[in-house]
């Protein structure tokens, strides 16, 4: 938008800005990589070399034969793996309850868990430390797993609750009609969320945080609409089509012009983890754009 209009000068300035930003963000990273391939003595040489004159894999060999490092790697894997598994297990239960079931005390519980994400870890640090000592867990991985679990659980519950909310009602209604108990239903709808769970497991923390905050902002803006929208009986096929309308065929959806028609479309589809079909790149446009009425999104603006 900024670069399209005027003459060539602002355009060049814009690209200069882009390059400056890229250098700013990437240079330290480049420097770390460069240093890692540089032999020790060459690192302590002045003047500084911006491109390595000699390359070596010696540093990597040293690190990978270092027992302490390998042990640390194993420890991290154990902790991360167990935390993720436990958080998903416990968190999916809670978020199904919060996202799909209607019962007294649901909203307060949602807020309790929400407020936990802002929880100042510092305030429990001391007591946790004493507790860990008393239970003789100090310097054990178990202590780490439990602590991390509690600090990530509210996060997980929050994200998954939104996924469950976005799921089409029909699945469950069909299950109820067929006479399943609520728990059987939970068990049955779980596979629908598998793609989500998979992502939740494998994407880096920053993606998770990213999604959360996109949501946070969305809620701050359109919280009321979203809450109202999530209970609207929008036919599931229609909802799924909205997801697909990010693709070439978007003419057929002009009929839904109210924001509420558009909210809650970020349902998990088994085949596409991300709105843009798995790359995760257009996450922000996909997700936020999907919440806006068509005329407001970039494609719609032209038509």
């Amino acid at each position: 938008m900024t670069a399209r209009r005027n003459s060539i000068v602002p355009r060049i300035l814009f690209y200069v800005l882009v390059v400056v930003i890229l250098i700013y963000t990437m240079f330290p990273f480049y420097w770390a990589i460069k240093s890692s391939f540089t032999p020790q003595p060459a690192l302590f040489k002045t003047p500084v070399e911006y491109f390595p004159s000699q390359l070596t894999l010696e540093n990597y060999r040293q690190v990978l034969t270092n027992r302490d490092f390998l042990q640390a790697l194993v420890n991290s894997t154990i902790v991360a793996g167990s935390v993720v598994l436990l958080a998903l297990l416990v968190g999916s239960f809670a978020s199904y309850a919060l996202g799909r079931l209607h019962f007294r005390g649901r909203t307060p519980m949602l807020y309790v868990i929400l407020s936990m994400t802002m929880f100042p870890q510092i305030a429990v640090l001391g007591a946790l430390f004493t507790m860990v000592n008393q239970l003789e867990l100090y310097n054990r991985l178990t202590a780490l797993i439990v602590t991390y679990l509690v600090f990530t659980l509210p996060f997980t519950v929050w994200v998954l609750t939104n996924f469950f909310k976005g799921m089409p009602n029909e699945l469950e209604q069909a299950a109820y009609v067929d006479g399943t108990t609520p728990f059987q239903t939970f068990y049955m709808v779980l596979p629908v969320n598998r793609a989500r769970f998979g992502h939740h497991r494998f994407v880096g923390v920053y993606r998770r945080v990213e999604r959360i905050f996109v949501r946070l902002v969305v809620h701050a803006n359109a919280g009321q609409a979203h809450r109202a929208g999530s209970n609207l009986p929008v036919p599931s096929a229609h909802r799924i089509n909205l997801r697909d309308s990010m693709g070439p065929d978007h003419g057929s959806h002009r009929d839904c012009h109210h924001p509420i028609d558009r909210v809650g479309v970020d349902l998990p589809t088994p085949h596409h983890g991300w709105p843009d079909g798995g790359r995760g790149e257009g996450i922000i446009e996909g997700r936020v754009g999907a919440r806006l009425p068509r005329p407001y999104t970039s494609q719609g603006a032209k038509s």
Binding site: M1, R4, F14, L17, V18, I21, L22, T25, M26, P28, F29, W31, A32, F44, P47, V48, V90, G91, F93, A97, L98, L101, F103, I113, M116, M118, P120, Q121, I122, A123, V124, L125, G126, A127, F129, T130, M131, V146, L149, V150, L153, Y176, F183, F186, G204, Y206, V209, E210, F213, L216, V217, H219, A220, N221, E281, I284, V288, G289, R291, P295
Partner: protein, 314 residues
């Protein structure tokens, strides 16, 4: 008349039936709901709420780890000592200075980056990925990376400033000098967290409908007017959320400082001071009082933001 009145009554009766059937279902749902919530709630209560209660209690005692003397209730004594503790106030000062520096610069840079990514240009996808790199690198790693870059003899920053651009005459030990270390670490945190701010603001920017700008253009508003009169006000919710999160994170900062400076007395933040008392000195009572004080400060900041910016929180 009678039919007109009978009509709604009939519908209510008709509706009453599924409601009665639904109540059975809803009772089952309630039971299931609480059953499913129970594991999470128990965990949270056990590892978060219970320790919180203990911290509050400990802050009124003289508890020490591994002490032979029995723990005594000392009232507000810990707090009284804390208020007169010079090292504590210097830690508070360092933390607030750090928070101010980083939040301001992250906001300026984050806004620029968000605006750039929000506009259409070639290589936008690449830019978005590249932008996230600093955030994806673990803090400890990036702190070490920057430490190496800051090195006053072999560091690249010294080389750039002294040899390449001739901005400085001689080497500066950025990290070692008390006067520059806070800015040095502020730059590291700014580099690391700008993507996060940019991301939040970008999400907010993309919620702003395009026709608002069209209307502004028709009315003859310049680009700069559009930014201050249209973009900024509509971006307020996003700005609010970002501000709160960034400020709280900056006030709680621990990892960057610990990785770059260790527990150097002149660059202690509140969290590091707290950790020192709690773990290194085993002074749980005093440490808990520090924790509660930080908690209090965080609370005040949140309340201040909510009242000043008057944006409804989520």
């Amino acid at each position: 008349m009678s039919t007109a009145q009978g009509q709604p009554a009939a519908t209510t009766a008709a509706r009453g039936k599924p409601a009665a059937r639904g109540s059975e279902l809803s009772r089952a749902q309630t039971r299931l709901g609480w059953t499913l919530l129970a594991p999470s709630l128990i965990l949270i209560a056990f590892v978060a709420l219970w320790p919180l209660a203990q911290t509050i209690w400990n802050s009124f005692t003289n508890a020490r780890l591994g002490s032979i003397q029995p723990t005594r209730f000392v009232g507000l004594n810990n707090y009284a000592v804390l208020i007169r503790d010079g090292f504590w106030w210097s830690a508070v000062w360092v933390t607030f200075k750090f928070a101010l520096i980083t939040v301001v610069f992250e906001f300026i840079l984050g806004t620029i980056v968000a605006l750039v990514i929000n506009s259409n240009f070639r290589g936008r996808g690449l830019m978005r990925t590249a932008m996230l790199v600093p955030w994806a690198i673990p803090t400890v790693v990036s702190a070490q990376m920057w430490n190496w870059m800051y090195n006053d003899v072999y560091g690249v920053i010294k080389d750039l400033l002294v040899n390449k651009f001739h901005l400085l005459r001689s080497n500066v030990a950025w990290v070692a000098l008390p006067s520059t270390s806070i800015y040095a670490i502020g730059a590291v945190d700014t580099w690391k967290t700008t993507p996060f701010v940019a991301l939040l603001l970008l999400a907010g920017l993309q919620l702003i409908p395009g026709d608002v700008y069209e209307a502004a253009t028709v009315d003859g508003a310049t680009r700069i007017q559009q930014f201050f009169r249209v973009t900024l006000p509509l971006l307020m919710p996003a700005i609010f959320v970002t501000l709160v999160f960034r400020t709280l994170d900056a006030i709680r900062v621990f990892d960057v400082f610990y990785a770059m400076f260790g527990a150097r007395p002149d660059t202690q933040t509140m969290a590091i001071y707290n950790q020192q008392y709690m773990v290194s000195f085993s002074d749980v009572g005093y440490g808990s009082a520090i924790s509660m004080f930080i908690f209090l400060i965080l609370g005040i900041i949140v309340v201040a933001y909510v009242t000043i910016l008057r944006v409804e929180e989520v």
